[in-house]
Amino acid sequence: MASTQSIMALSGARKAFGEHEVLRDVSLEVARGEVVAIIGPSGGGKSTLLRCATLLEKLDGGSLAFGDIIAARDEDGRAVYAAGDELKRARSRFGLVFQNYNLFPHRTVMQNIADAPVRVQKRPRAETEREARELIQKMGLVGCEDKVPCQLSGGQQQRVSIARALALHPDILFFDEPTSALDPELTAEVLRVIKTLAAERMTMVIVTHEMGFAREVADRVVFLDGGMIVEEGTAEQVIDHPCEERTRAFLSKIAE
């Protein structure tokens, strides 16, 4: 089966902020086309895991690879990062959708989406703009091309940021609680877009609090608590029939 190709492999990840250990020996491998949902209590290490995987934060120990690109390798328990050029190549493999979008406020929707492909990947402007138009259509944002982010709703802004990430053709897309800043109605429209991507077999890792959504889109659900993967498996296993006490406690708490 070709579907077992590894897109991202994080192994033995450790990260501490001062005395506080946020990640202790976390390993996560994602195959092409797989959708992984990461759930767990706040402070459990979800965001740090995502920030380490996207090179915004450096691991203390462990290794990180995107396909054949080794971003960090483990040397006697210490994470040793590759040189700048290699990290740049690694960055071109993934995209990240932030909780609070982080769109460029002074740029139009079109510029937000089409600028990085031109400036970073040096692709022709005409081609990237045509692609950006397709993405705008796909994200249900037709008519917003020349608007700036402050003229859009939160849900629209988050869809622009998804389009911005997709415009660079990443192999894998990370989402850091993409709907936490949105009210329920706007949440639904963002989740619908992510579901469309899942149906197209886009490889994704999604940190989320939306259990219903995780159950619906995720091939695999990972429960992270205390900086460790406590439990992982299909949504049915982890969300509906958790084995671990900590998973059950968390799920019953958010069900209240």
Partner: protein
């Protein structure tokens, strides 16, 4: 002396005031960037030197700074002062003084840009230079415009300080005319000149702010 003769003399003085103004802007706006970068440098000794520089520039009168720069070459190196020295010292003092104020405004603007902007740029693969030029700088310009407006308007009026060192700008001319004509009219005319020019400055600043008002964050 007729009104029109006085007006002509004051206009001539005002052209000198304008030169001080434009030379200072041309020098201090870019120099302020260098000072701001030094102030935020990761190299601690550099950061401290720049802090002391800014502290002295803001903490002592510009008038004294002009005298210091004017006389320093003679007292320190025995260089003979020439008629041009006054003018050069004035421009130099204005530039280094205003660069300190501009630098602090730039720093406030740079530090107000949310960290998420840098992170988004980093993940998208922008280089540090690209991030600064295309993402950070345009946002900083919008944020610092009102504060820069304040300083620029102050600068227009501060050009009158060159009077103290003997540069024949408009205020010197007005003072001389007041004495020789025994009339306060030259001061009144000078006030109108400063105000009208600052009114134009305000119009330009308002236009710039309006141009950047297409977004907020």
């Amino acid at each position: 002396m007729s009104f029109s003769v006085m007006l002509g003399m004051l206009t001539e003085g005002f052209l000198v005031s304008l030169q001080i103004f434009f030379f200072t802007i041309a020098g201090a706006v870019p120099l302020g960037v260098v000072v701001a970068l030094g102030r935020m440098s990761r190299v601690a000794p550099l950061r401290w030197i720049v802090r002391i520089y800014i502290s002295i520039m803001r903490g002592t009168p510009l008038m004294l700074q002009m005298f210091a720069i004017y006389f320093a070459p003679y007292y320190l190196f025995g260089i003979q002062l020439t008629p041009d020295s006054k003018w050069q010292a004035t421009i130099a003092a204005f530039i280094v003084n205003y660069a300190a104020y501009f630098a602090e405004i730039y720093r406030s603007g740079l530090q107000s840009i949310p960290h998420g902007q840098y992170e988004a740029a980093e993940v998208l693969g922008y280089s540090r230079g690209q991030t600064f030029c295309y993402i950070v700088l345009p946002q900083v310009v919008k944020r610092i415009l009102p504060a820069m407006g304040n300083e620029i308007i102050t600068l227009v009026k501060d050009t009158s300080l060159a009077f103290s060192i003997g540069v024949a700008e408009m205020f010197s001319t007005a003072k001389a005319l007041v004495a020789s004509q025994v009339s306060m009219v030259p001061f009144a005319i000078a006030a109108v000149f400063y105000w009208v020019f600052n009114f134009l400055v305000e119009l330009v600043l308002a236009a710039a702010e309006k141009k950047l008002s297409y977004y907020h964050d």
